[in-house]
Symmetry: C2
Subunit: 143 residues, 2 copies
Amino acid sequence: MALEIKDILKKNKLSVTGSREKILSLFLNHEGALSHGDIEKKAGEKFDRVTVYRTLQTFLEKGIIHAIPTADNSIRYALCKDDCTEGHHHDHHIHFLCMHCHNTYCLDDIVTPEIKLPDGYVADQIDVLVEGVCKNCKASVTK
Amino acid sequence: MALEIKDILKKNKLSVTGSREKILSLFLNHEGALSHGDIEKKAGEKFDRVTVYRTLQTFLEKGIIHAIPTADNSIRYALCKDDCTEGHHHDHHIHFLCMHCHNTYCLDDIVTPEIKLPDGYVADQIDVLVEGVCKNCKASVTK
DNA sequence: TACAAAAAGGCAACATTGTTGCAAAATGTG
DNA sequence: CACATTTTGCAACAATGTTGCCTTTTTGTA
Ligand SMILES: [Mn+2]
Ligand SMILES: [Mn+2]
Ligand SMILES: [Zn+2]
Ligand SMILES: [Zn+2]
């Protein structure tokens, strides 16, 4: 596992540093997306806030993670599964926000649908956000 | 027009005040969504920042406006066209973010598609964000 | 219209979040 | 190990969002 992390960094031509390894491991060991705040808390007092910002920025640019829009001013980030490269993502899955556990999940098997736009509009990227109750919470809340 | 604004406020059991009239008129006279920052700038030095926050919050709760998620940590707001009520919105349209003019449009005629979720997931609301080039920009950028 | 109660606004103080420049430390390469 | 390059931590700052409290405005009613 520790090896896998270093490999991901090297594959992306990034030097292997403590903060990058730590933050990447957080993503690898957490189902669901993480916000900047989540990472800051989970990484503990080990790293500076600025380092977290810069690391996320770097991971984004390299296509290691992708940003997930939300309506509450708190971007979430998640690992890219496909072969995303610098500046070009191939994430055509939808995102699910659980209102109960507040986790954000990448539903990698659900492909974003085609959208027929009005004349003149050209689509470049489509994000689908579904809000509801996730599988786990549904099971635990069963009446 | 000035009458229409007062009517909207009264219909929602809100007292008619200068800031509410002003902010509501900004929405009525602007195609596309507005962020908190946009409103602060457009409203000029006339109102306190806190008043803008509180007014948007009130409009949201009353279902006068709805929030549009983005991937850049800046919520946009737009008028609700349908009969949205306190706590319950009926916005099933998609949102278009123009990468050129940076406007956000409600495409009221495009209905959000059905999404088939994995077993166990229950959807409550679906947001579709399309990023690309809008009608106006497409026309002006034609080569 | 005058009045009292209720609601909203302005202000100040504060908290949180994000950005920048720079010097110190760590990393990769030979 | 030495050196050039990259990354980090820190400090200072900017931007954004929140709260409490007092004043002003609005509203319903007499
Ligand atoms: Mn995802
Ligand atoms: Mn809309
Ligand atoms: Zn859940
Ligand atoms: Zn445009």
